[in-house]
Amino acid sequence: MSDVALALAPVFLPLAGAAMALVAKTLRGSGPAAAMEAAGAAVGLVLPWAALAVLLPRAAGGGVAFVVSGWDPAIGIALRFDGLAWLVDALGFAGAGAAYLYSRGAGPRGPLFTAIFLIQTSALAATASTADLFNLFVCLEVLGLSSYVLVASSGKPGAFLAAFSYLAISSAAMVFFLVGLFGFYRLTGSLSYEGISAALAALPDGGGTAASLSSACVAAAVAIRVAVMPVYGWLPDAHALAPHAVSAVLSGVLIKTPLFALGRLLEFLPAGPASMELLGAAGAVTALAAVLVALSQKDAKRLLAYHSISQIGYVVAAWGMGTRVGLQAAYLHALFHALFKGLLFLSVGTAADAAGGRNVYEVRGAGASLRRAGDRRSITVVAYAVGALSICALPPFNGYASKGFVGSLFKGEWRYWVLFAAGACTIASFLKLSMIFLPAKEAPKDARTAEAAPAGAEPPRMSVTASMKASMILLAGLCLATAAFAGRIMDFTGTMLGVGAGAPSKSLYAAPELAKAGFGACLGVALFFVAVSKPGKRAATLVRARPRSFAGLVLAFAVGLAALGARLVLFP
């Protein structure tokens, strides 16, 4: 098989799997249908790993750039499968595979869910390797459409509303993307990144204001998908109300792939570095602001959703440096975040289902509820502990390596301290979330829980099945493995992205860094006690009660777009 055909395999194998899942829907008899669906899932989520394994040497050696079906580059679709595409694909298939495994146990189930899930995975792979502006538009729309359906697939009415808001704001943003695309086509008559770049370079002023405004439209539209400040408002509802498995993919994979795809485009544009710088600064602010909101939440999954925004802030901050080392740090944190946040969504979701509530101020004794639900070895609790310690960036977990790496890029800048403060708040908010695992104290107050109190008297609300456990064990194992081999993974990503193996894996464990982590942890514990005190709770209520509306979301997008446009036009 040629390299070109292989490079398309990560896109087409999940599509083939989706087709098989749809065929399964037409089969009579549950046996053959289930077998067909499982085969489709295997084709879509497992086979691509074989293709990735074969492609590894080629991707490390510079990658393959080609036009699909060998059309003339002026009208064909340009793709580029390089080290970055390989890494983003690996991230996507790892996150999606583990989440799908979980959904086999916890639902949603059925061939339709499988088909849409696989279409989304295929769009992820396509987004990662596209080098054509219009193809990027189509990939983002397919990615979006499948994710709206998946958010709504939990069947809760609130999830329909969240999916609608997500759909409305991101479709409106995609219209602006088209306007930006129009600007580039008019200026350059080309849609491939290379064509646009070459034609802009030939223009006397590099395209001037028109090119700057077009770049701003495209970058702002993609920023909505990445959920960086100020355009993050759709994310908490969508991620909190989606089924747990879908939340894990949305937060682990879906918000990062568009960022790396945007980075690939911005490399070719004259306005690229300035846009990345502004987005990166917004990312650092996001990291701190979102974690403060997270600290005030009472819904366990919503708290995790705000953490996704905060952690993507770290990723965007590193990515915004515009250097290869920055990209490497961004990818590393994106990968580790996909693993530990996926794990957190699955374990917290399982615990909340077992305990029958998601309010972190009320739910207690989740460990006991889980044991009643069939998780005798406390796998969920251990999985949660691994995920929480990783996201809190305590050594030697993987979050420590990636956050340390991101932080080391900003030594001596304001961003360094912003990210440090965000880290301390992360610890505080996870202490707060961990309260659901505290043993239930004195006699339960309200009558409903009083009935549930005698152990075994009430049938468990759900059961923790083998595939849910397998999925959590898989992700926890990956978290621990990436922590153990963090240095090797840094060297590997460095090679793939053309940085070379010069990552600061050794200096991460130097005494000052460890002291800083210890100081951050103490600060986090102190913050936790402030947050659960009376005034802290009152402040939290105020933060939760801040008005959030759809019009506000559109306004935020307009402000973001205007800021980016002004930055690019006035200070070229």
């Binding site: 459409l145 479709s171 509306s549």
Partner: protein
């Protein structure tokens, strides 16, 4: 120039509807209007170099630029998918709560 100004008006009407209307179906219409405005913009631009249909064996000299038309064919398909899904979601919300008003829905579904 007038054509462009009209397209801009259409685009602004779309945005205004998306922000100001509280009915989910009207929001969906507003999205479709915004999308159509951009489609018209592309087609208008493509026709600035000629307005004959770009067919093999045609009169030759003044073809429209076929690339924007091909792009917009795809964009229209995407737009239809978005509208269909938005209407499906609105229908499910109406079945669950008996209203299409977004503020009312927010209150009923207990959004914080």
């Amino acid at each position: 120039m007038i054509a462009r100004a009209l397209v801009l008006c259409m685009f602004l009407i779309g945005i205004a509807g998306l922000v100001a209307k509280r009915n989910l179906v009207k929001k969906t219409f507003a999205l479709a209007i915004m999308n159509s405005a951009v489609v018209l913009l592309f087609v208008l631009e493509g026709s600035s170099i000629g307005d004959e249909a770009p067919l093999l064996g045609g009169p030759g000299a003044s073809f429209v630029d076929p690339v924007p038309q091909a792009l917009m064919l795809t964009a229209i398909v995407v737009g239809v998918c978005v509208s269909a899904l938005a209407l499906a979601l609105a229908y499910r919300l109406y079945k669950a709560y008996g209203t299409l008003d977004v503020d009312e829905l927010k209150r009923l579904s207990g959004h914080e």
